[in-house]
């Protein structure tokens, strides 16, 4: 957009961007450098030697995967219903869902806590999976409905004329045709579930149920504030996210920005 005609101006622009990204790089450098201070790679060895680190990962994977599956299934069904099927007072239902978009999760704490203890769900995966999925569904439905509305209705009619039930239309038309938007839903649900801190903090009490966002806290207890080991654990927990992003760069950027772009 900037037009730099002279080589000097071009170097100037390059220099400007470089200076501008330094503050963004700085915390990451501090993180890696801090994790190697003192015992060097020994910090990592110490962190990895703590039993249970794998369990944190496993729990995060289980929770994120469950949330994704739940959100995906429920969203696809609803988006198809909203976009292509006959629903009485459709817009009312839709706005009821959309109103949930603005909901801060902290509002759910007290009622969920009381309900979870009453139903015996406290300290189970469900106590985190259900609210996280519930919070992700409205946005996912909004995106997917808009996407399905872009698919020509004639396609569905042709399928029906040929004798396909709406279930077959769903399985053979909606599922394959919505792949691009499904990828976006997958990514932002993954990030939302994987990075969530409040729900696991409140609803998962036993250490063998907890997720990776609680790892720094766990290590603060484990190493009584040995900062280098805490940072090593932070690097280890951040690594899968960074690798996933680098491998699926396009998908991440599109997924997170899908809502704001036409």
């Amino acid at each position: 957009m900037f037009e730099a005609r002279s080589p000097l101006a071009r170097v100037g622009l390059q220099l400007l961007v470089t200076v501008m990204v330094i503050p963004f790089l700085f915390p990451l450098v501090v993180m890696v450098q801090g994790s190697l201070a003192g015992a060097g790679w020994g910090n990592y060895a110490a962190v990895l030697a703590v039993p249970g680190l794998g369990q944190f990962f496993l729990n995060s994977v289980i929770i994120a995967a469950s949330v994704i599956v739940l959100v995906y299934v429920v969203t696809m069904l609803a988006a198809y219903g909203f976009a292509k099927l006959r629903v009485p007072v459709r817009e009312l239902w839709f706005w009821l869902l959309l109103a949930c978009l603005t909901l801060p999760e902290v509002v759910l704490l007290a009622p969920l806590f009381a309900t979870d203890t009453a139903l015996g769900l406290y300290d189970t995966y469900w106590s985190v999976v259900l609210p996280l999925a519930a919070l992700q569904v409205p946005f996912a439905v909004l995106l997917t409905r808009n996407f399905i509305e872009g698919i020509p209705t004639e396609l569905f009619e042709a399928a029906r004329v040929d004798g396909a039930s709406s279930m077959r239309g769903f399985l053979y038309l909606v599922i394959p045709l919505t792949r691009p938007i499904a990828a976006a839903v997958l990514i932002f649900t993954l990030i939302g579930a994987w990075n969530d801190y409040l729900m696991p903090l409140v609803f998962l009490q036993s250490t063998d149920m907890q997720t990776i966002t609680l790892v720094p806290q766990f290590f603060q207890g484990e190493f009584s504030n040995d900062q280098t080991k805490i940072l090593a654990s932070a690097v280890l927990t951040a690594l899968p996210e960074v690798i996933a992003y680098l491998c699926l760069q396009r998908l991440f950027e599109r997924g997170l920005s899908a809502g704001a772009l036409k």
Partner: protein, 316 residues
């Protein structure tokens, strides 16, 4: 959205009235019932969330510690107390200030990055990755890093001392005057990448020929950006404003983990205050009343943005 829903599927105008009637009847018969399809989403999301909201509304009229079997009803007393609670008003002030500062700076930085990386910069992808990586990192995992970075003997003060600005070195997290700015800086660090990616994508859709025409007419870089690109991406700016405002109301992880909402409530937000009241101090009724207020603010704001956005569209 309303427009799409009101329109019947199929756009071909029917040739005669009789044909139109049969067509409509056939269409209706062909469009199967959709209610069963949307019920799972309504139950999971709507059910859980509205159940919780209703429950919160009920709790907000109680004086309850969260455990005792028979809480006393206090009517609207909790709400009256909240309006007289200085910490609540502090939290509101922080939220508003936080929203304005983070939104303006993120927009400025994100927009600038997007313009620059659209300008034939070498190894642009490297810059892109550096700016975007914070978006995917969990705030909870980055919190210890920032606690160290802003500590009295942390890296920021070290850098300041080594570039001759040692006089500026201070305990960033530990004093009321700088704690809130620290929280803002961390948030900007985290979310500028998203702002950037959105603007970057939106700028890709700006009409090249308009830019060329402007250049031929002698418009410089600054004029092109201010008069063509900036107005062209206004939709993105509005979307980002909504995201930032909702984000400000939801703020919890960073102030809780980096400054523990302190010192002296200097970084208290509605989220941290509700958490403290619910989990640590067992004033569950009071926290529920706070939640109700937070909900109303969020909803009013969302409707406000929606209406403002619509008005703009009409005027254009």
């Amino acid at each position: 959205m309303t427009e799409t829903s009101l329109r019947r599927p199929g756009r071909r105008p029917p040739s005669s009235r009789g044909e139109a009637a049969t067509l409509r009847a056939r269409r209706r018969r062909l469009q199967p019932r959709g209610l069963p399809w949307i019920i799972p989403a309504l139950v999971l999301s709507g059910g859980l969330i509205y159940y919780c909201i209703g429950y919160t509304g009920y709790i907000s009229t109680l004086d309850w510690d969260g455990i005792s079997p028979d809480p006393t009803s206090v009517g609207a007393n909790n709400f009256v107390r909240i309006l007289q609670d200085p910490v609540f008003w502090q939290a509101v002030q922080h939220t508003v200030l936080f929203f304005i500062v983070t939104f303006v700076l993120q927009t400025f930085l994100g927009f600038l990055f997007a313009v620059l990386l659209h300008s034939r910069i070498k190894v642009a992808v490297v810059y892109k990755v550096i700016v975007f990586v914070p978006v995917v990192l969990a705030p909870a995992i980055m919190a210890p890093v920032f606690r160290q970075l802003f500590a009295p003997d942390g890296e920021l003060n070290w850098v300041l001392q080594h570039v001759g600005l040692g006089a500026l070195a201070q305990p960033w997290i530990g004093q009321t005057s700088t704690a809130l700015p620290v929280i803002m800086v961390i948030t900007i660090w985290q979310w500028t990448g998203l702002t950037f990616v959105l603007y970057f994508a939106a700028m890709g859709q700006v009409d090249e020929s308009v830019l060329e025409a402007a250049r031929i007419d002698g418009a410089g870089n600054i004029r092109t950006i201010a008069n063509i690109i900036w107005p062209d991406v206004r939709g993105t700016t509005v979307a980002l404003a909504i995201l930032s405002a909702i984000g400000a109301l939801k703020t919890f992880d960073i102030p809780w983990l980096v400054t523990i909402a302190g010192p002296n409530e200097a970084t208290e937000f509605l989220g941290t205050y509700i958490y403290k009241m619910t989990i640590q101090l067992d004033h569950v009724g009071y926290a529920a009343a706070l939640s109700v207020i937070l909900l109303i603010v969020a909803l009013v704001m969302a409707i406000g943005f929606q209406l403002a956005g619509r008005e703009r569209e009409v005027r254009d």
